[in-house]
Every structure is written in C-alpha cells, then in structure tokens.
Point group: C2
Chain length 185, copies 2
DNA sequence: GGTACCGGAGAACGCACGTTCTCACTCGGA
DNA sequence: TCCGAGTGAGAACGTGCGTTCTCCGGTACC
C-alpha cells in the first residue's frame, strides 16, 4: 500500500523535528531522515525539493505547535494576571521535558542565521509572534504595555540559560522576576 | 622572515574569530582561515591539530576579552547601584556595533552544543562566569542576592532578541526592567 | 495475460572540506 | 660550498552528504 502524501509529509516532519532539534540541522543528513521516516528519498525530494524547504516546514509546523501549546496552557488559567505568570510555569514544564535543548529558532539562528535568509526570517517571525502573545496577555490583564517586552526578555533569557546551563530552574528565576515586575507596575 | 608562533597564533585567532562569529563554525573551512590569516595550513595544524581546538581557542580568547571589556566599562561607573545598570548600557553599545550577531556561545551552543562536548562546556562556563560577574556587582551594590539571576536572564534575553529581531533597542527594555527590579528590591 | 506506469531501494555523482603529504626553497652551520 | 632542518604553497586523500539516476518489482488497466 503506497503512502499518501499527507502521511508521508507527517512522518518526514516528525523525523526531521526530532533530529534537527536534537542535533542541529547541519549534522543531520537527508539519508538519516529517510531512514527515520521510512519515506524514500525520491518521495522526500518530491515533497521537499531541497533540505532548506524541509527545514522551513519543520520550523513552521513547530511554531504552530509551540505557540498553540502555550496558548492552551495559559487559557486554562482563570485570573488574567495569573495567566501572565503562567507563561513561566509552562516554560518550566517544557525545560523539564527530556530532550529539551533550548529554543529551536535561537539554535537555528545560531547555526544558520548568517547563511540562510529563510531561517533568519522564520526566527524573527517566531519571536515577534511570541512577543505578540505576551503583549496580548499583558494587555488583557490590564497591565501597562511596557511590561510585555520586559517579560519577553525574561522568557528568552530563561530559554537560553535553561539550555546552556542545563538548569530548568531558570524558569523559577524568570517567574519571580516577572512577578516582581507585575507587582511594581 | 618566518612568522613566530605567537603572531601566527594571534593572526589565526583574529581570523577565526571574525569568520566563526560572523558565519558560524561549520560554514567556515580551514582553508578560508588559512587564506584570511596568511598562515600556512601546515603551521595552522601544528598550532591547532584539529578544528575543534581552534574553536576552543577562539572561544577562550573571546571570553577573556568579552568579560574584560564589560568589567572595564562598569568599573568606570562610580555609584555601585549604577554599575549594575551600566551592564545594560554596555550591552546596548555592543548591540549597535556593526557585525553584531548575538552571543558567540549561544550561537555555538545552537550549532554544536549537541555534537561537541567542548563547545557545550565552554558555553556553560562562560555563562556561569558572566552570571558570577553580575552577582558580584549586585552584592557590591548591597542589593539582595536573588536579584542577580534575574538580571542575568534580562541580559541573556536582550542578547538573544537583539540578534534575532535585529533590534539593538532590546537593551533599553532590559535596562528599564532591571531598574524596576532594583527599585523594587 | 501483457504492458505501461509508479514507487521504493539504494547506487552514483559532484562537491566541499578536514586533514595529510609532496616538493621545492631558504637559511644557518660545518 | 654543501647539507639538512624547517617552511610555505598547494596538491592529494578520504569522507560525508545533498541531490539525481538506475533498476526492478508490483499493480492497474486494456
């Protein structure tokens, strides 16, 4: 039974996401993605004619999933002010997941931002979208707009340092700082 | 006149730093470093027997220079409390330098952290050292110890978002947040 | 039953690059 | 002057990998 395009795409993106996130883009060969997904090279190149397009699809799908997961988590919190802080609880949960290795877009920017305009753009767009999510939460909580970019920096700092220092507890520092900023505003 | 080892090393590290920082490690070939430095491949491999050792030397020298530059900048500020905030002024100056492309260790972690234990360790050590510098400034200003990791997150967030968003103004948000945290403590 | 297409497996190609080797040259010392 | 150790230029080697090509078995349709 031949694989239809949709499931082939899903399997490819699942494998690509696992491998690219865990090891970086350049150290994962197309052949390894073929092996992991069970999709033939011919099919792979029919669906994604170049590696960069597979990377683009991987980051695009992950962006939807990542922001959707965050949105669902904070939506479950009642108090609008608590929703702002819940962002950092969500980060802490994420940092503790096995295989956590930082932000896929920051890692991608570090690896390919200088050589791939596509990756640089996707990273910028993802960060802008995340900053927008925070701005909405801040606004809905009746907090001053100026708070949002500050919370954004705390979240970014937490992601990067949780990864580099291999310390999920960075989320707690970020949460404490965010609470102090909220209280002071 | 043959090049003595010290100047050969310096030229190699200068070239390596320019290229590795600007484009990432993997997209710069040893031959390009030879060309840029004017040091022959044979000499290059005599001084650094493998690319990873050149990367290690590059990151090591940059660490000393980076932290030294920060320390010198804040040391020139009189008031101990202003010294803490001066960190963010220094970051802003750095972000505005041409060729700024984020934190070399974060970029290196994203690119090679999963495949090179050396790079992962150097990134961790550098971040720990930077966090230590902040902790000393906070302590010298008579501020509570708990503030230091929070300022660290703001600084990390500023570096990452200034790079990815291509917006040096992120330093201002970080400075404002830092001032609020200092004031609230 | 034949035949023309489709998809999969994987070999092949071309190139880039880390590392090593060759070879001719220089220069200090007997 | 001769010799040999060290140096630089760059060719060569081996490997990995992105991409394409070949071949073959199956399957749908006449």
């Amino acid at each position: 039974m031949p694989l239809d395009d949709d499931t082939a795409r899903t399997r490819l993106l699942d494998t690509a996401e696992d491998l690219f996130y865990a090891r970086g883009v350049q150290s994962v060969g197309m052949d390894e993605i073929r092996g992991g997904s069970g999709v033939s090279l011919k099919r792979l190149y029919a669906l994604y004619p170049a590696k960069e397009q597979l990377v683009e699809a991987y980051l695009g799908r992950r962006d939807l999933r990542w922001r959707g997961s965050l949105a669902a988590f904070v939506a479950a919190v009642d108090n609008p002010r608590d929703r702002v802080l819940a962002v950092f609880d969500w980060l802490g949960d994420w940092f503790r997941e096995p295989g956590f290795r930082g932000c896929a877009w920051v890692n991608g920017y570090g690896e390919l931002g200088a050589t791939s305009a596509v990756v640089a753009r996707l990273a910028r767009e993802h960060k802008r979208a995340f900053a927008g999510q925070l701005a909405e939460l801040v606004s809905a909580a009746g907090l001053p707009d100026a708070l949002a970019p500050q919370l954004f920096l705390l979240a970014e700092g937490a992601m990067v340092s949780a990864a580099v220092l291999d310390d999920p507890g960075q989320a707690d520092h970020a949460r404490a700082a965010a609470a102090a900023l909220v209280a002071a505003s």
